[in-house]
Amino acid sequence: AEAVDLGVLRLTSHAPSFIAYERGYFRDEGLDVTMQFFEAAQPMSVAVAAGDVDYGMTAITGGLISLAEKGALKVIGGALSESPGVPGAMILASNAAYADGLTDPSKIAGRSFGTTTAGSSFHYMLNKVAEANHIPMADIRMRPLQKVGAIVGALTSGQIDGWIIQPSIGNGLVAEGHAKKIGDFNAIDPNYQVTVVFSSAAMAKDQRATTEAFLRALARGAHDYNAAFVDHSADAAEIAALDGIVHKYVQEDLPDADFAQMMATTSMRINDGLALSMGSITDQLEWFKREGMVSPDITSETLVDSSFVQSR
């Protein structure tokens, strides 16, 4: 079997990787996959660019685009995506800000929002919300806090006014009364391509067969995931089995029941067949260019190799 390194984060959005790995979908394709765990998305894209890891899956960030521009990596498939009728990113307000009138996305002018770093998906979503409400970004204070944990701390203690975050984290905050939900990102950009699958440029170019096999196996994992957690079409035993697989890697210390509950209520869709929402990707790329975070010369052809999967 061919040895392949796959970068993963201990997040539910990486469930397809865990499922494909545990259920032997990779082995079925003749791949001997080793999972490399990362603490954050940024090092994963760098590691793929450096050739330490063959495939990875993260949001489209400025860093990812820069590395693609340097010819170091390529986006080869889509993963997590907004999708109407399915849980999606939620716009949160801190309790204090909510009490102070931040009750609707249209009232975000003059407020401070958390993000991990400039050019992260949080930054992009915030910009989309502002655009949709015709509020210039200059009127919103963006506070880069590096880590999701730090943003959670800042939001619950009222030091920032709001945050736009995936439901796996947002739901918990709202449920425990640490924050108020004031809107769905879904309503603003129903096709947002949250995360993508990427590989090193060399891998995409020279190891086409391997890459295709890898994507097929991962798509099988994604299919199982959607059936169990997004469409709820799988039977109870299947759901329990998948809960078990994912829980082995994510939030190990959460009680099983709570974990299952979280999976059932907060899972976002992963594109069938890892299809790419090219519209959203182009939109994101254009925004990064406008903001001067990436070189203005980069085109979506440099970023994406769309020959592996379907485009939506």
């Binding site: 490399q36 603490e39 954050a40 940024q42 590691a47 330490d52 999701v148 944990g149």
Partner: protein, 274 residues
């Protein structure tokens, strides 16, 4: 003017004792006061957290931290995290120390090395290592190499500075003595310069080892599954204060142990000091 050289008869009137005005300016640590103050501080925090004077998101209960540590020890998790961290500290620290001592000796001995390397080292010194994390991944990958490299890089610069300072401080009169007896260059280096620089080098290693421990956390940001630094980072991102403090306490303890080891080395090797 009479010369009063002969002792006069002992005066009969009683004298006033000379007033004492010396002493002081010699603070000495009271024994066990350090331990006692630790105990008091920990007890106060325990009371504060139990009585909710200190909110649970400000500080964890010391007893809970202790329980976490005990749990870790019992479940073997402690060793699973500690072993890779110690290995990283040992390998990275040793690399940094060896290269640093070598570079420091070159600077201390040769004009060319001094001219070229001193400005480089002083430019490298204030560079924050965490800023370079993305580069380290590219340069050294995400495996152990990049962790070793980060720790080695962090310990390199202070070791260089300490070593060449130590060589500069070797008593020149001892070197001239060696020359005056016709000792070959290598003998002077081996028998005079190196032992003379040893105290300075060892005290430099004290600083470098503290820096290595501090950098462990940064190093384990680079995709480490196990390691005290990784444990602390995970605790931080989960905002689990018990684990965070347990991890910090372990690092503190590692620091104390390494410091004690260097102290032991100093007593063994530098017994000749006054």
């Amino acid at each position: 003017m009479p010369d009063p050289s002969a002792p006069r008869p002992g005066p009969a009137q009683p004298g006033r004792p000379v007033t004492f005005r010396g002493g002081g300016f010699d603070p000495r640590p009271v024994r066990f006061a350090g331990l006692a103050s630790f105990a008091v501080i920990i007890a106060l925090i325990e009371l504060g957290t139990r009585s909710d004077v200190i909110s649970s998101i400000t500080l964890p209960r010391p007893s809970a931290v202790l329980a976490t540590l005990a749990d870790m020890a019992r479940s073997g998790l402690l060793w699973r995290h500690l072993a890779p961290s110690l290995e990283r500290l040992a390998v990275g620290g040793a690399m940094g120390a060896v290269l640093g001592i070598a570079a420091g000796l070159m600077i201390g001995l040769f004009s060319l090395a001094r001219s070229v390397m001193v400005p480089l080292v002083s430019a490298l010194f204030p560079i924050p290592k965490i800023a370079l994390l993305p580069l380290f991944v590219i340069w050294f990958g995400i495996g152990e190499t990049s962790k070793y490299a980060l720790i080695a890089f962090g310990t390199f610069t202070p070791t260089v500075v300490a070593t060449f300072g130590a060589v500069d401080n070797v008593d020149r009169s001892l070197i001239r003595m060696g020359q005056s007896f016709g000792l070959p260059w290598l003998s002077i280096l081996r028998k005079i310069v190196l032992p003379g620089a040893l105290p300075g080098i060892l005290s430099g290693l004290r600083v470098s080892s503290a820096i290595a421990i501090i950098l462990l956390v940064a190093a384990e940001m680079l995709g480490a599954e196990y390691g005290i630094g990784a444990y602390i980072l995970e605790a931080g991102s989960l905002y689990n204060l018990e684990r965070l403090f347990a991890g910090v306490a372990i690092l503190s303890a590692v620091g104390l142990v390494v410091g004690a080891a260097i102290g032991w080395l100093e007593r063994r090797l530098l017994g000749w000091r006054e």
